[in-house]
Amino acid sequence: MNMFRLLTLLTIAISLVVFVLNFSKLMPNVTDAKVNFRYYCAQCHGLKGKGNGPNALKMMPVDPRDLTDASAIGKLSDNDILRVIREGGSAPSRSTFMPPFTKTIPEIEIMYLKDYIRDLCKC
C-alpha cells in the first residue's frame, strides 16, 4: 500500500469518527410525540387523550375533544388535525380554548403529534 492510499484511508477514518461523535449535534433535537402530548395537550385532553385533563372542568363552556373517539376524530383529515394543532380551534371555527401551537412546537413534531393522535383514536 503506497503512502497516498494510506493517508486517504486515514483521512476517511478520522472523518467518520468525527461525524459519528458529532451526529447528535448535527441533527436537530426532535421531541417524541408522546412527550409533546404529555406536556402540551394533556393539560386539556388528558394523559390518555380522553378529554379529561385538569382543565376539563364542568364550569367551562366547552369540553376538550376525546381524541380516542374514532367516530369523531375519524371524520377529520390529516390536514384538519394539522391545522387545528398549528392554528388553534378558531381556525376551523371551533373552540378558542384550543390554542395555536405553530410558534411553540416545531413543524416536524406537529406532524408526529398528528400521527400520535391517529394512534390514540386508531383511526
Binding site: Y39, P54, T96
Partner: protein, 222 residues
Amino acid sequence: MRNILLLIIIQGFFASTIILTNSTALAGSQEGMGFFQRKCSACHEVTRPKDDESLLSRMARKGPSLRYAGSKFKKGFIEAWLQDPKSIRPLVYSSLTKANPGKHLRLSNEDAILVASYLEGLKANSFKVTGLSPKDNLRGKQIFSQRYTCYGCHRVRSNSTITGGLSGPSLVGAVRRLNPDWIYAFLNNPRAFRPVGAMPVYAGLIKEDDLKALSRYIASFE
C-alpha cells in the same frame, strides 16, 4: 472657609450613609443567597437552563425558576408571600393530576427579608422597564376571554367567584404579584426567559399594541 468646611462635612455624611445603606443591602442579599441555596435551591433554580433543554428535563423540575424573580414580581410581594405562602399553582408543579397541597416553606419575617433581598436582585437581561401600568381594558379582555381564552388554563376572579383552568399558574391577585412590564416582556418573547414552557408562544400571533393591552389587563387582576 467655614461654609466650605460645612459643605464637605455634609457631603461626607451623605456619602457614608449611601455606602452604609448599600453595603447593608449587599450583606443582606448575600446572606439571603446562602439561605436560598440551603433551603430553596432543591426546588427552584436561578441559573439559565441550556437553550436545548428537553421537555423531559423541564418536567423533572420541582418548582418554577426564580432566575428573573426581581423582574417578574412586584417589590414587596416576595417578602410578604414567603411569610404567608398561598399556592399560586392549583396543581403540583409539572403534575397534571396532583392537587397542590400548599405546603410551601413558611419563613420568619427576618428570613423572608433576607431571601427577598436576594431574589429581588435577580433581574432578567432582556427585561425592559417601560412603565406599563395595570388597566382593565376592553381590548385586553377580548383577547383574554374570547380570542385566545386564556382562562382555559389560568384561574381568574369573575365577579365574586374564581373560575378557569388548573394547569397554569393562577392569575388571581396578579395586580399585587406581577410587574406589568414583565408580563409584556414574557408574552412578547417567552423564550428569552426559558427555552421551553407549557404555555404556547403567542409572540408573532398578537400585535404589539394588543400584547400591551393584554398585559395591562392581566396586570389589573384582583
